[in-house]
């Protein structure tokens, strides 16, 4: 515990971080260790080269790191939510928003056909022709697009995933 405390004190604004994300101190310490091991050059930031991931910003510092991972905490649905508090980061809505942002590359609040195509392209495991991709994208949009604007807004996104158990799909156990 002593080491935990000392590590905690190294992290700036750790109280606020904990409150915002809902992680316990032990978790924060664990994530910090992981962060440090990823951050090979000890710059205090993670660049895309560090883990080969694509980030919206060019670098990610520890706070963002934790915040992003916080989305994947399993949601606690038995805790009665205080409506005055801001939406917890790992609630269903936040997870959905996070996923939505993955698709919505230009951040205009809608997933256009082009953006969907890009995601599909990266996900297709085998060689699919471009027009087939387009067909799939078109059909997906058609299924989900309720207001016929040829793009998927967050609401439509949410509705189309109503039946999916987001908690299950977007949670990592150890982060509980």
């Amino acid at each position: 515990m002593g080491s935990t405390n000392s590590t905690l004190s190294k992290i700036p604004n750790v109280e606020e971080l904990m409150r915002e994300t809902g992680f316990s101190p032990a978790h924060i310490v664990r994530l910090y260790d992981r962060f440090e091991s990823l951050d090979k050059e000890k710059t205090g930031h993670l660049r895309p080269e560090d883990f080969g991931a694509i980030n919206r910003q060019d670098t990610v510092d520890f706070h963002s790191f934790v915040r992003i991972l916080a989305h994947f905490r399993p949601a606690e649905n038995n805790r009665p939510r205080d409506p005055s508090l801001p939406e917890p980061v790992n609630s269903r809505i936040s997870k959905l928003k996070f996923a939505f942002q993955l698709y919505d590359l230009d951040k205009d609040g809608k997933i256009s056909r082009a953006e969907l195509l890009q995601v599909l392209r990266s996900m297709m495991e085998m060689q699919v022709t471009e027009e087939q991709l387009e067909s799939i994208a078109d059909r997906t949009i058609q299924e989900a697009d309720l207001d016929r604007d040829d793009a998927i807004s967050f609401e439509e996104f949410r509705k189309s995933l109503e039946k999916v158990n987001i908690d299950h799909k977007m949670s990592i156990r150890f982060l509980r």
Binding site: A99, M123, V128, E131, I136, D138, E143, K163, K169
Partner: protein
């Protein structure tokens, strides 16, 4: 219905009186009925010297064996038929319970006729003929993703839970026996442990039968069901171990024997699974080669499945495990290797066998009870067994689940645990095992038989009846039988990838990491070895789903057309030749071959796919229009069913089809919107002046939303299809053929008027996959609700030009345009 009954009974009596002459009461193998005794013969004349030529002889004892088998199967199935006629009954009672009741009735009749129970469920028949189809079906239609996902929970319950049940039951009974609660019994600790082990196991047949009708959510079902299958490994081991111990006698049991027992568990369980997987690999490899023998192809699955069962049995490993894993392993590869027809055949036939088997089992469970010779009543023993079964089951479930929840992502709630505990049904496997006991070693065999029967009846009937109300009362989460939409499936996949990434980042080896690793291994090795090259190309998950959706679309449209008469109905006065047949036979037989995405559908183009130009009647259009706007709200409830997702938990119906109307709406909309864009291009041909302008305008509208396809693209794959566009008004029509960029030599019926109509309403541009267009099933006989299908190739145009597509559109702006074609040609 009563007439049916009387007829059956009459026939039965006839058979029985006839057979009584030649029957000796003797337990025989290989038939659910007894073989005739050898002493009597019924007037068959073969032994006696004949004095004159017999015109007809009575060959009863030649045919007796097979005849009785077939008869009994028929009788069981007719019983099922009989009470299915009364839906009120089946809502309350589980089918299995009713079958047992009918079995009682039949048993009573036979007993009354023969004064001795001539028919009963023989263990050999049960274990070698009746059980394998059920297990094979269970494995083959197992939802793999959920099975593997919950494998930890399943194994824990199957192994530890069963051992706990067996031990606690045996020891409990022993304790009570020592305490004198059962009176005088000639038994011992080992025998009671044996009894505990055979009755402790949750039975797959019973679980299927009861849960079938209740439809709890998938996780719950898979845990109970998986447990019922995998605990066979434990049951077999325990049974054999204790049986051997009983033979050895108490004093001979020392640590060595016990250790051997534990080792044998691992050997049996893993050995059985390995045998199953080996056979699964064999099947997969074999189906790679069966392209040329599509008729026998399905048969291989059955033979191999059965062989896996028998091989494991032969090696004294766990046969159920072997069969299950064979099915689980091979389903993915086999389903992709075989043609769609074969896959359907296999699935359907398996269901027939499995369901039929189950029916026969339950009927005979009932019949076998009506036999006073086996009944021994010992209140203490029986009641205590029932009590212990319940209590210890719940205890086990609660404790184990509490442990599991520490490690599970989605913990199992109390309600689920209750259902799991309550769902621990015992069934025919226990009965079969108890009959295998040697009565010399087990003096109380009859007591055990009686108890087992009572336990089975209790669980199947009482728990079966109360399961549904219990599930409703506890508000257990039910199964979502809705098929996921394409969007959902894509999102699911995205999430999986995302989770793998996050797990990797956070440095955890989690569930998804393992899944990813397995996936990579599978892609690298297994797919290459076990799957057809052509099949492999079509393996992509999302693409398959898309393909299935398109197929379904097409089928619906064709069906719709049939409902209204025929495809030709829609054309008004013009009489073009509609050449459905020419299209069709090439279509279907080639289906599996054109799976690869890089296969250009040249054959279709060359076969000069005929085209039909359909002009919708005005009123139809109007009606569909209004339906369409209503369909807006129904969008969420899409029920697209990909083939893979037809999770056949349901033994009774291979396809759970719901809400046809909604499906129709969506398809309508989909196809309509697809058609409109295509139509505009077509109109570009017919009406160079007006339509193209309009369509061009529309195109620009549409283009503003999505990314417009490159013009270059249009020409690159528009070529074989849209020569007309180049011919006629090249510039204009080219723009108009933009929406067809994604279409590729498919089949569809153009409905110029219709599309022109809808153009202004729906600027949505959806392109069906080229595959869907290739595959439009064209049987004119099964068209139900037609929305215009798109047929294209060069011949298309000749037809279009040749015919006079007279259309009566509704209002809007196309009226003038549409009327022109009549004059143009």
């Amino acid at each position: 219905m009563s007439g049916l009954w009387h007829g059956k009974i009459l026939m039965l009596m006839v058979v029985l009186t006839v057979s009584r002459h030649s029957l000796a009461f003797q337990a025989r193998n290989a038939n659910p009925s007894n073989q005739p005794g050898t002493n009597a013969s019924t007037g068959n004349g073969t032994e006696n010297t004949i004095t004159t030529l017999p015109i007809v002889t009575w060959k009863w004892h030649h045919t007796e064996g097979p005849y009785l088998v077939a008869l009994w199967v028929l009788v069981s199935w007719i019983c099922k038929l009989v009470f299915q006629l009364n839906p009120a009954l089946t809502n309350v009672f589980p089918e299995s319970g009713l079958l047992i009741c009918i079995g009682w009735v039949l048993g009573g009749i036979i007993y009354g006729a023969d004064k001795v129970q001539t028919f009963r469920l023989q263990p050999f028949t049960f274990f070698y003929y009746l059980l394998p189809p059920i297990v094979l079906d269970a494995g083959y239609s197992m939802p793999n993703k959920q099975f593997m996902g919950n494998l930890g929970a399943i194994l824990v319950h199957a192994v530890i839970g069963t051992v706990w049940n067996a031990a606690s039951l045996g020891l409990g009974l022993w304790g009570c026996w020592l305490g004198g609660a059962m009176g005088h019994l000639n038994t011992g600790l080992l025998q009671l442990l044996l009894f505990g082990s055979l009755i402790a196991a949750v039975d797959p047949v019973a679980v299927i039968a009861v849960f079938e009708e209740v439809h709890v959510n998938e996780v719950l079902y898979i845990i109970v069901f998986g447990e019922s299958l995998l605990n066979d490994g434990v049951t077999v081991v325990l049974f054999n171990v204790f049986d051997a111990f009983v033979s050895l006698g108490g004093p001979a049991i020392n640590a060595v024997e016990i250790i051997k027992g534990i080792i044998s568990f691992f050997v049996v369980a893993f050995g059985g699974s390995l045998v199953g997987i080996a056979f699964g690999i064999l099947i997969s490899l074999l189906t790679r080669l069966t392209k040329k023998t599509p008729t026998i192809e399905p048969g291989f699955i059955f033979v191999f499945g059965y062989l896996s069962y028998l091989t494991a049995e032969f090696l004294s490993l766990s046969a159920i495990l072997s069969c299950t894993f064979c099915g689980v392993f091979c389903q993915k590869y086999v389903n992709t290797n075989m043609s769609e027809k074969s896959v359907n055949t296999v699935r359907t036939t398996m269901k027939v066998f499995a369901n039929g088997s189950e029916t026969v089992i339950f009927v005979f469970l009932g019949i076998s009870a009506i036999d006073p010779s086996i009944w021994v009543w010992n209140t203490g023993f029986i009641l205590l067994t029932l009590l212990f079964i319940f209590v210890f089951r719940f205890m086990g479930v609660f404790v184990l689940t509490w442990i599991l929840n520490q490690y599970r992502l989605v913990p199992l709630g109390l309600i689920e645990q209750l259902v799991m505990g309550y769902g621990g049904l015992r069934g025919a496997v226990a009965y079969g095992l108890v009959f295998l006991l040697d009565e010399n070693k087990y003096k109380e065999k009859n007591l055990m038989i009686s108890t087992t029967l009572l336990v089975v009846y209790f669980t199947v009937m009482l728990q079966g009846i109360t399961m549904k109300p219990l599930v409703n009362w506890l508000k257990v989460k039910r199964a979502t039988t809705d098929e996921a939409m394409l969007a959902e499936k894509i999102m699911n996949r995205t999430f999986d990838h995302m989770l793998v990434a996050i797990e990797d980042i956070s440095g955890q080896i989690g569930h998804n990491y393992l899944w990813d690793k397995w996936h990579n291994f599978e892609e690298k090795w297994l797919f290459r070895i076990l799957m057809n090259p052509t099949a492999r190309k079509s393996r992509d998950y999302i693409f398959n789903i898309f393909h299935q959706l398109n197929l379904k679309d097409a089928m619906s449209y064709v069906q719709e057309g049939e409902r209204r008469g025929s495809l030709a109905f829609v054309r008004n006065d013009s009489k073009a030749d509609v050449d459905f047949n020419k299209q069709f036979d090439t279509d279907f037989t080639d289906m599996p071959d054109i799976m690869g995405p890089d296969h250009i559908p040249v054959p279709f183009v060359r076969d000069s796919v005929p085209s039909v130009s359909l002009n919708m009647h005005e009123q139809d259009q109007k009606m569909r229009e209004s339906e369409d706007f209503n369909a807006h709200h129904l969008l969420q409830q899409h029920l697209y069913k990909g083939r893979k997702q037809r999770h056949t938990y349901s033994r009774k119906q291979p396809v759970v089809n719901r809400d046809e109307d909604e499906v129709q709406e969506i398809f309508q909309r989909t196809m309509r919107s697809r058609l409109e864009s295509f139509k505009s291009a077509k109109m570009g041909v017919a009406q160079p002046k007006k339509i193209t302008k309009h369509s061009k305008k529309d195109q620009t509208e549409k283009m503003s939303n999505g990314k417009p396809a490159d013009d270059s693209k249009i020409h690159s794959y528009g070529d074989e299809d849209f020569e007309f566009s180049e011919g006629d008004s090249a510039g204009d029509a080219a723009g108009g053929s933009f929406p067809m960029a994604a279409y590729k030599g498919g089949a569809g019926i153009v409905n110029p008027a219709y599309m022109a109509e809808m153009d202004s309403n729906e600027p949505i541009n959806v392109a069906p996959s080229q595959r869907a267009q290739l595959r439009l099933p064209w049987t004119p006989t099964n068209l139900r609700r037609l929305a215009p299908l798109r047929l294209s190739t060069h011949s298309n145009d000749s037809f279009l030009l040749a015919d006079s597509p007279v259309v009566k559109p509704t209002g809007k702006n196309q009226t003038a345009n549409i009327r022109h074609p009549a004059h143009a040609f």
